[in-house]
Subunit: 186 residues, 2 copies
């Protein structure tokens, strides 16, 4: 595995501007409730949350690159580790474990045991098809697309559905090659 | 004026769980955009944001009372100071100035020069009637209602409309008297 030496997620998280996690959680809950009311179909809500996340991810990547001092990742394995240990920490204050790699090194999972998005959340029976945290998969997909990695991001396990953790599968579909490993002017 | 001695907003803010402010700002922006798409009328969006905020406020007050160690405020003046110096700090990481009191002590303004909700936000011409931060007025209204103060909360100045600060007017409509100043079992 490629060596990973990003700036510590804890150190970055301590130095960025933050807001109260409960406010964020309740605000996110208000979005989901609003979408459920407006769109009616749970499947449409999943799509919309993913799209919102994508729009956020393509902007958030700039803050991530500016604050984390992470240079361009060498490969998808390093990228996944950086998301798990630096990205998630920097934005949500949690980290994930990376696992379940396929042999080609193109598919893996981020496993989260703590997820501030779902504090105090219980899904009613009418929402069983809902991927409540779908904004997060969209954010990661959007952010990766801005660093030339086209991915598919799907939930494999979801604690709101009774699983024992949150597992997000990242599948690398296409990687646009870049000058390697650093641009000349860096 | 009544003496105000709440636990410092900074100290509380340092000890609550937090998420990245930019993530919060972008997520909030996604809500507003979604509402503008779904509801079309700016006036309806204002109402919906206020209602979302109200629903958040009636829950957030519990976290506030639990973490801040603020005991029941003696009067509306003290309440306004606590919101400005402790509540806003605890949830958004900013403080406000309290001013523009009427002689009866029932109306005042919270004046914010910094507001994380509006970072990177510019309103297009089609949204000129929008109170972008209306969720905040709803939160304060909801939280105050849970401590027996019925209020009207309105924006007087808004930097997104070209004003030099954010000014939120709090008007006390009705206060349900409580045992004063502490309950017997405290």
């Amino acid at each position: 595995m490629a060596p990973v030496a990003p700036r510590s997620g804890d150190a970055i998280f301590a130095n960025v501007e933050r807001v109260n996690a409960e406010l964020f959680t309740l605000t996110y809950g208000a979005i989901v409730r609003q979408l459920l009311t407006d769109l009616e179909e749970v499947e449409e809500v999943n799509k919309q949350l993913d799209q919102m996340g994508y729009n956020i991810g393509i902007r958030l990547i700039d803050e991530f690159l500016a604050k984390s001092n992470v240079s361009r990742c060498i490969d998808f394995k390093e990228t996944a580790e950086v998301i798990a240990k630096v990205g998630l920490k920097m934005f949500l204050g949690v980290t994930a474990t990376v696992g379940n790699w396929n042999v080609e090194g193109t598919t893996c999972s981020l496993i989260l045991e703590d997820n501030p998005l779902v504090d105090f959340v219980e899904l009613p029976d009418t929402c069983q098809g809902l991927y409540y945290c779908n904004i997060l998969s969209g954010v990661i997909r959007g952010a990766l697309e801005m660093v030339s990695m086209k991915t598919e991001v799907t939930w494999i396990r979801d604690m709101l559905r009774g699983d024992d953790a949150f597992e997000l599968q990242l599948k690398l579909l296409k990687q646009v090659p870049e000058e390697y490993p650093y641009k000349d002017d860096e």
